[in-house]
Every structure is written in structure tokens, then in C-alpha cells.
Symmetry: C2
Subunit: 650 residues, 2 copies
């Protein structure tokens, strides 16, 4: 290890935007407390209450907008709340079992094997993207409910919001934690205030009902079990985000598992209370599903009146928490993508940490996909909901199934015995039977919901996800096999390494004869291997002139003109090199070419920059080495020359 001073990055404009670069050793300190952790990881789950009730009502409205039909939302919401409790109890076990992060990918990989792990990962990655798109779209819908003149700019607002969140996340998780704590608590405060005021007025018997709503049209469908199940599926969007904490355990302060588990229970408690409260209020106030005003906005407007500052506060709070909810995915997507990439199932670039220690490539990838979804769907939450949550339920099921396998292994241990696995240490646990029962029940429930989901929403969009996840898994394995094969080809294991010298033929590629050419010749001569120059004659007249200039100015070494009647550059050179290689097999052909390096991109664009092209064309040839000799053209140099010229007497 060299002892010299570690090089620091130069200050740049980008650092103003992203914050100054962080050293790698700063990494472990980037952890959050429970209240901040709740804000970072729970905003997704909590904010889904902003659209879950609405999506249930929209499906039920297909059969009619009467109070009886829409009232079915209440039992549906209770069923969903029960499901939330089951999943939470089950995931609490996972958090304690996997203190280093117990996302579905890790649990499945540890207990079920590579294929289920990749399926779980693909499902989660897909859903993280959808979380961003759905949350942002719903957040924008809250704002346009209050400010109708913004309605035509939904897509622009949504894409702008994604850009801002992306920027915040490129700065790093601690800052985003702080930034996002305020809106999450602001939302919780305003929402419980609204529900509280509503409940008091309900108890006092003066709860008003919603007026002035442009309700969606009655779809005229029959109220079948299928439709009720479809409404239930839509409402299950409220469960997305419950898994976020288990993926992000390492972001918590020590004792991690304990802090994460407590945060999970807090979160589910708040979630169930809000979801049931909103659904109850929506029913009692006769909220109508509408395309231009959200359920939340109708409840707030009816509770406080459309000119009340409390109504506005609640809308803004909901919008902010939704926009911020997308941040959960920004914490989890890049982390999970880096896990996949580390195992060789995604491009390795996803494991690189940027100057602020975040996985910049993952963040940018998430932002691009989510923006695309928002644009394609026209920022309509209802268009995205059918794609949503299948992935989450698939990963719920696989994760809990993994826990079942793990607990069965633990049950086979002797009391006190410890076995080190890939991720954790397994210790005998006297309660393994109960825990296994909980995980099995959880896996069964979420598995059934997932199938209900895929069936009831297949034709309205779920088919896309049903096709996408296997495609992704296929791609992941293709990538994996590629890396494995390359590693095998490059491996030196068992290969005797004996490095013999080979002869080198140096070929200078000459475009014109000027100061840059002199440097090329200088380098070639310094190398002291046999050398000659070559010119690809696209323009025969120019070729003669160059030949002549070479003789007059350089005056040493041979220069060969290669005709190119089809005005190609790489192809004639390739043929020439092949001839050289035939004459002297086993030698390196060393191509030396110039590169005019300009100070700015615009100046660079004015020059041919053929080096990149040659590099590309010649890199396919065995035994050909390409050297680029830069020649610097400095604007300052030019400026100095101008000044000198101006002083010179004319």
C-alpha cells in the first residue's frame, strides 16, 4: 500500500447539487433512529391509505354507486386489515432471524435456493418501480383535487417530482431521512386530526355528507363474487411497503433487529387505524369515487369545508407523504439491485457506490423506469393499480416459505446447538413449531391473495407483470451465465503462466502531417521497435500531398498509402493488419494514432475523433494493440498565441 496522501476529488459544480464526496469509511455511520426510520421506511405503507380505499370504491362502482354496494368496502377493509396483522407478525420473525437485512431475496436465497431468490428479487424490483409511479401519481392527484387548474399538467408535475426525489437520494440516505421525517409526521398529524374531528361529529350526530362530486359512471356490471374479489385485490395495494423495513434493517441504529421490529409494529398499528378510519368515514360521508377528486380530498373537504386551511393542510400533507413514499423505493431498489449485481445476476455497475456512497446507477435506473411508467399511464393511479402489488405478494409468499424451511431446520437441531449458515447463525429455538405455524399461515394467506390478484386483474393489466417477472428472471440468469463464463475463460486456475516476450511491429496511423504527427513519430521511435507509417487514402489527391509532406517534414521511416475507394477507414486498416499478421505470425501489431484533446466538448465535436471508432473496430482482432497519443490543444494556449500575434508589428 502506498503511503502518499490519499487523493481528494476536486471541487466541482455537481458537488453543490449533491453534497461533497464522502470517504468509503464514512459508510457505517449512515444509520437512522426509530422515528427517522419510521419516516423513511413507513411512508410507503402509510401513504397507500391515500388510494387503497378509493381503488376499492372504483371497482365496486362498476356494479353501482348505491350505499349498499359501496358499503361492501367495510368488510373488505376489515379483511385487508387482518391480512396486514398476519403479515406483520410473520415478518417480525424474519427481522429477528436476519439482523443483517431480511428481504425476500436474502431469505429465499438462504433457504430456498437461487431460482426462488431471483423470482422474489424480480418481483420486488418490479414493485419498487411501481411504488414510485403509483405514489407519485396519487400524490399529484391529491394536489389537482384541490387545485383543479393543475389537472392538465399532471404528467409534468409527476415527472418533476420524480426528478426532485432522485436528486435528494443521490445526496444519501441520512439527509433524505431528515428531509422526509417532517412530511411523514405532518401527514400523520393532519390525517388523525381529520379522522378525529370526523369521529367526534359522527358521535355528535352532525356528520355532513359529500356534495358536488363528479362521480364515475355506474358500470352496470353485476355484483359478482369475482367483482368483490377484484375490489379486495385493489385494496390490497395498502399492504405494499410492509416489507420495506425488513429489507432495510441495516439502516437502523443498534440494536438493529429490535429497533426495526418495534418500528414495524408501530407502522402496522398506524396503518390499520388509518385505513379502517378512512374507509369508515368514506362510507358514512357517502364519498363517491371520482376521476377529478380523490377520496381523501372529499373527506377533508366535507369535514372542514372547502375553504378551510385544515382541508388544504390535509391535502398537502397527503400529497407530500405520497411523493415522499416513493423514497422508500429509492432506499430499497438500489440496495436490492446491488445485491443481485453482487451475486452476478445484474450488471456489476449497480454495486458501485457514487461519490455520496449511494448506489447511483440503481437510483438512476429506478428514476428512469418510474418516469416512463408515469408518462405511459398519463399519471393515472387507477391505470397502474392492476400492475401493482402482485410482485409484493409473490415476494411475501416466497419470504415466508423460506422462513418455514429455515424453522424446520432449526427444529431439527439439538437444544443449544448452533449452525452457521450463509447469512446467519441458526440456534435451536423451543418455540420453533409455533413460529413455523405462523410463517406457514402467512405464506398460505399471501399466496392465495396473489392468485386472486393475478386472476381478477389479469385482463386489466396484471398480464403484463405475469409476463414480465419470468422475463426478468430469464434475463438475470442470462447475465449470471455470462459473468460465470467470462470468469472461467479468464481464470488462471491450473493454467501455467509463462510470459514470453513477443516481437512488436509498430504502425503509425497518419491522417495528415503536422505537429501531432511529430509526437506520434517521437513516441514510435522511442519505443525502439520496427516501425512504419500508414495513411488510409480516402481522398487520393490528399494522399499524394501527405506522402510529399512526410518526406519533406519527417524525413525518416517509411509511409505506406492504403487506397480506400469506398471511403472506409477501419476496413482497409483491418485488411492491412491481417496481411502483416500473416507475414509475421505471433507478433503484436501495435497501432499508434493521434488524438487532438480539446478543452471543451464543443471544440472536441468539431474534430473527427476517429480514435474511438478505430478502437472499436480493432478490438475484435487478436494480437492488435491500440495506442492513443493525445496532443493537447489548450484554449489558453490559443489565447496566448492571439495576444502574441496582436503585439507583433504587422
Amino acid at each position: 500500500m502506498r503511503s502518499s496522501q490519499a487523493p481528494k476529488p476536486r471541487p466541482r459544480l455537481l458537488h453543490l447539487l449533491l453534497g461533497k464526496p464522502l470517504e468509503t469509511k464514512a459508510l457505517p455511520h449512515q444509520v437512522v433512529s426509530r422515528p427517522i426510520g419510521l419516516a423513511v421506511f413507513a411512508s410507503d405503507a402509510l401513504s397507500s391509505t391515500a388510494y387503497a380505499t378509493e381503488e376499492i370504491l372504483i371497482i365496486l362502482a362498476l356494479a353501482g354507486t348505491g350505499a349498499v354496494i359501496l358499503g361492501i368496502s367495510l368488510p373488505i377493509a376489515i379483511a385487508i386489515a387482518l391480512l396486514m396483522a398476519i403479515v406483520t407478525i410473520s415478518y417480525r420473525q424474519t427481522i429477528y432471524a436476519y439482523p443483517n437485512g431480511g428481504g425476500a431475496y436474502i431469505v429465499a436465497r438462504d433457504n430456498l435456493g437461487e431460482l426462488p431468490a431471483q423470482i422474489a428479487g424480480a418481483a420486488l424490483l418490479t414493485d419498487y418501480i411501481l411504488t414510485v409511479a403509483v405514489s407519485i401519481s396519487s400524490g399529484v392527484a391529491q394536489i389537482t383535487s384541490g387545485f383543479q387548474f393543475l389537472f392538465p399538467y399532471r404528467v409534468e408535475l409527476a415527472v418533476g417530482a420524480i426528478a426532485i426525489i432522485t436528486l435528494v437520494n443521490l445526496r444519501g440516505v441520512k439527509e433524505s431521512g431528515r428531509i422526509f421525517a417532517i412530511p411523514t409526521y405532518f401527514f400523520l398529524g393532519s390525517m388523525f386530526l381529520t379522522l378525529g374531528v370526523g369521529l367526534v361529529r359522527y358521535a355528535a350526530g352532525d356528520l355532513p355528507t359529500v356534495v358536488d362530486v363528479e362521480a364515475v359512471h355506474d358500470g352496470g356490471q353485476a355484483l359478482t363474487l369475482f367483482l368483490i374479489l377484484r375490489a379486495f385485490s385493489s385494496g390490497c395495494a395498502a399492504l405494499t411497503g410492509i416489507e420495506a423495513i425488513s429489507n432495510g434493517i441495516t439502516a437502523f441504529k443498534e440494536p438493529r433487529s429490535h429497533n426495526a421490529a418495534i418500528t414495524l409494529v408501530w407502522m402496522t398499528g398506524l396503518l390499520v387505524a388509518m385505513f379502517l378510519g378512512i374507509t369508515f368515514m368514506a362510507h358514512e360521508m357517502h364519498v363517491m369515487p371520482s376521476e377529478t377528486e380523490t377520496v381523501i380530498s372529499q373527506i377533508g373537504r366535507t369535514t372542514f369545508g372547502s375553504h378551510s386551511p385544515f382541508y388544504l393542510m390535509m391535502l398537502v400533507g397527503t400529497a407530500l407523504v405520497l411523493l415522499m413514499a416513493a423514497n422508500t423505493s429509492y432506499a430499497d431498489f438500489p440496495r436490492l439491485a446491488a445485491l443481485h449485481a453482487g451475486d452476478g445476476f445484474l450488471p456489476r455497475q449497480l454495486t458501485y457506490r457514487g461519490s455520496r456512497l449511494v448506489f447511483s446507477w440503481g437510483i438512476m435506473g429506478l428514476a428512469s423506469c418510474a418516469s416512463l411508467l408515469v408518462i405511459v399511464s398519463g399519471a393515472r393511479t387507477t391505470s397502474l393499480i392492476p400492475l401493482y402489488a402482485i410482485g409484493v405478494f409473490l415476494s411475501f409468499t416466497l419470504s415466508q416459505a423460506g422462513m418455514v424451511v429455515r424453522l424446520r431446520k432449526i427444529g431439527r437441531l439439538r437444544p443449544g446447538q448452533e449452525v452457521a449458515g450463509r447469512e446467519t447463525v441458526m440456534r435451536y429455538d423451543p418455540h420453533w413449531r409455533l413460529k413455523m405455524l405462523i410463517s406457514s399461515f402467512g405464506a398460505l394467506c399471501t399466496g392465495i391473495v396473489m392468485v386472486v390478484f393475478a386472476v381478477t386483474k389479469f385482463s386489466s393489466g396484471a398480464w403484463f407483470v405475469v409476463l414480465l417477472i419470468p422475463t426478468l428472471v430469464y434475463a438475470f440468469f442470462r447475465i449470471h451465465y455470462h459473468y460465470r463464463d467470462v470468469a472461467r475463460l479468464l481464470s488462471l486456475d491450473g493454467v501455467p503462466v509463462d510470459i514470453e516476450k513477443r516481437s512488436i511491429q509498430t504502425v503509425i496511423l497518419v491522417d495528415d502531417v503536422h505537429a501531432e504527427t511529430v509526437r506520434l513519430v517521437n513516441f514510435a521511435k522511442s519505443l525502439a521497435h520496427p516501425w512504419h507509417a500508414v495513411h488510409i487514402a480516402v481522398n487520393p489527391k490528399k494522399a499524394d500531398l501527405i506522402q510529399q509532406k512526410w518526406r519533406n517534414r519527417i524525413g525518416e521511416g517509411e509511409m505506406i498509402i492504403i487506397p480506400s475507394p469506398y471511403r472506409l477507414l477501419a476496413e482497409p486498416l483491418r485488411q492491412y493488419i491481417e496481411e502483416l499478421q500473416t507475414k509475421t505470425p505471433g507478433s503484436f501489431v501495435h497501432i499508434i494514432m493521434g488524438h487532438l484533446a480539446m478543452d471543451t466538448f464543443w471544440e472536441q465535436a468539431l474534430h473527427q475523433n476517429s480514435a474511438v471508432m478505430f478502437n472499436l473496430a480493432l478490438s475484435r482482432m487478436e494480437g492488435v494493440v491500440v495506442t492513443s497519443v493525445p496532443y493537447q490543444i489548450h484554449r489558453n494556449g490559443l489565447a496566448r498565441e492571439h495576444a502574441a500575434e496582436a503585439r507583433r508589428p504587422h
Copy 2:
């Protein structure tokens, strides 16, 4: 010159689309006859009759849609026809004076100097782009007049049409001439048939008037001289394209000037007849300017009836000739851009001929700008017209002013005396006074019209062009100074060239130790200069492992670990190189790095490809030479390995 077989390009998928590559010596044969030349170069001018009358009526309608007010279109059309005759007579002289191409750029450069030439060029380039946008938009409007259900897809249709024309032009001018001859003559036939039938019915006294038109709203403005001049300006769009032939003289068969001049006269004759005919018919039939139906469509529908095949034929003919008119710009824009680039006022890449001998960069540039204009304007001709034709009139004025200067010089010669200029030979001409008078009168007329243009349309869009042209001229000169300065810096004139050998320090950049590394060491060792290896330690744990692998596997040469706590690659290397250079001034530092060359883009994207980045970062350093040693990873190789493995007993 090497005698070996000239390398032919390999057959590729692209050649199916663009035709097989052509040799440079095939260039002079790509010329056209008079009838084909008329089709190629006159379609712009002739097709402008499809919108010129309409644009006059749209402006007049601002003051009312009564027969008296719209009737002012007749004297306006006659004034424009006179202007056409003046410009044609004046340009005929230019064609004979400049048989190698007498575009405004060349005439201005030859007689007025560099700045007027650049102004003329910038004006023409701007207008060529507008010609494409206006013609395509108007062509699509003809089609949507007949097929109203296509109206919402105007922009898509227009962009699609630009794509097709671009493709045809990338194939080369002769093919495009042939393809475009048919629609031009089809248009001429159908238009004269329509006007002929109309005239016969007018003479017989049974000319019907237009019914069922959704006319534009009466703007309620006063009929001022300003408004009439504005209508005149809009109608002057009919003159655009007259200059096309003088730019393209070299595309004609010998005797070039004679053929080009005759074609010019044919063209103007047809243009005047059609423009006056359409304006007269529009007046007699009480055509109303409308947003959804063009004037041409109204005339055709009224003459033949809306279900007549002749009406349809006329619409399709007009649309085709308009779409094809854009082709004039595809012939002239790249040629003019190449002229600028050859003089060093535009990027040099514009002078390169592609595999089909056309200026591919210019064609692509034109297509991109025109598509952008069509998208921004929503493919509405009327939105583009205020930007249009200023450039053409500016270049008309400069070109004719140049001819005046030239003719005065000719007048000063003795009879029989010849003087060789940059472009042509000047001979004494007894008629120089008359010719100079014609050119002066032409320059005066077009100059006045240009001012009228800029003033009357300034606020509705002309301001953009008034700002754009000086901006372009400024950019042209910036580019020119850049090339001049670089050439001066690179020049060897008067510099004594003495190439001394310098010492070389070879540094191998090691990312990991495997088969690729062995090749790097092999090359470095073969070079036989002092060498050592360097590893940038982004991950300290990995660095120790690599150090150890190096000792075990390579076993020779020193390897230095450079810590990089900020996870940067280029910056620490740069600092290290600076230290080396301080220790041994005047030596080359030769950086050798590996490059895994994959068969496909997708495989390549899975690897770090840091070579490009290093090249960029190090190219700014004086005396640093970067060598990329490719290591080929072949899919076939992998496949063979797999097969071998499969055969191996497990």
C-alpha cells in the same frame, strides 16, 4: 500507393435499406437530365402554389371574409408574379456566370467577401430547413382535407414523411430524381386539368361556388396598407425555391448552364401560370380560408365534386409534390453545408460522403431540425409561414448584389481580356451595363420585399429568424477561428523538426489478476522498457487479494497499490502519473490497460469499460500515452467450452 486489392465493404443489413456502397470514382456520373432536373429542383417552387394563395387569404380574412376584401388577393398575386419574373431574369445571368454552381453563398463569397457569404449561407440553410417543415406540413394538410379522420395524426404523419424522404436521400440523388419525377409530373397534370376544367366552366358561365366550408373567423381588423403588405409577404412564400436550380447546376448534364437556365425558365413559366390560375379560381369560386380544408381542396372539390376520382387525384398529387418538394432541400442543404464546412465554417464532418456518396451528416442534420420544427409547430403551415422566406429574400438580395459588383468589374475589362477569379473566368461582355441594371433592379426589389417581410411579420414569428441568422453567422465564425487556430498550432511551417528519442516508463493498470492481465504483462514485457503495475484500490480488501494473486500468478515485476478512499479511478491515477513525471521529467508515461472485447453490445454493457473513461481523463495530460490491449471474449469460444464441458465425464 499500395497495389493490393482495394478492400470492399462487407455486405450489411444497412445496405438493403440504402443500396450497396458506391466507389468514389462513381461520383461524376450522378447527374440528371432536364426533365428529371425539373422534377428534383422545381418541386419546391411549384408546390408552394399549394399554400401561397391560402396564406394571402388567411391574412386578408383578418379584415373580413367579404368578396371585396378577399378580392385584393388578385392584385397581390399579380405583383408577386412580376417579382418572380424579375428574379428569374436576374438568376438566369447568375447561372451562366457560375456554371459550377451559383448559389448565393458562392456568388457572395466571390464578389462581396466572407461576411456577406456567411450571412447568405446562414439565411439559405435556415430556409432549407423551413422548406422541409412547411412543405411537409402543407402536404399533410392536403391529405387531411380529403380524409378528415387523419386530422389528429398530422404531426405523426409529417414526421413519418420526413423519415421516408430522409431514407430516399441517403440512397443518393439519381435514385431520388427518378422517384420524384413521377409525382411532380402527376401534380402538374392534375393541377392544369383542374384549372383547365375550371376555366372552361367559367367561360361557359357555370362555375359553381364553394359550399360547406368552416371558414376562419373574421378577425375584425381594419384593412390597412400594413395588412395588405403582410398578405403580400405571406404570398411571397411562392418565390422560395426559385434559387434551387442555381445552387444545383452541377447536378445537370452538360452543357450545364444551358440546361439549368432552360429548366429555370420552364419552371417560372409553370409557377406563374399556376399561381395566378389558383388565385383567380379561388376568387371566382368564393374560396374561404379554413383551418380544416385547404384552398386547393376547396377548388378541387368544387370543380369535380367531393366524390369524384379527379378530386382525389388532385389532392394526392398536391400532397405528393409537397412531400417531394422537401426533397429540393435534401439536395441543396447538404451541398451548401458541405461548402461551408469545406471553408471551415461548419464542422468538417459535413464534407464526408457516406457509402452512397451523399453527404450523410447534412441529410441527418436537416431531417432532425425539420422534424423538430414540425413537432413544435404542430404541423401547422400557417404557424411556420412567418419564419419562412426571409432567409430566401436575404440571399436573393446578396446574390444579386454580388452580381452587380462582378458585372462592374467586367465592365472595367478591355474587350477580349480574361481574368481568372476564384470560381470563374471573367470575360469582357458588351452587354454588361444592361445586365448590371437587371441585377441591380432585382436586388433592389428583393431587398425591399425582405424589409417589408421582416417588419410586417416581426411579431408573429419573423423575430426568431431575425435573431437566428446573426447567431448562426457568429457561430460560423467561431468555428472558423477554432479551425484556423488549431491549424496554426499544428503547423510545422518554419519549425525545425528534430525527433529525439525519449525514455518511456510503462505502467500497467491492473483491475484484477486473470488471463487478460497476463496479456497486458506480456505486451509490457515485449516493449522492453522499464515497467511496473498499478492497482487503484477502491475496495481495500480486494486490493490485498489482488496483491497476493499478482505474487502467486504473475510472479515478476512490481505492483503498487494506490488507495482511493473516495472511490475515484481517474483522479488517483492522475496524481500518481504527476509524481512519476516529476521524478523523471521529459519521459513518456505509457499507461497500458486491458479491454474485454465482447461480441455484442449487450455483453459489452455488462462490463466496466473503463478504458474510454481513462482515455478521456488522461488525454488532458502532456506526455501521457494510453494503450488499450483488447482481450477477445467470443460467444463461440464460450459455446465451444460449454460443449467440451458437456462431453467431459462428470
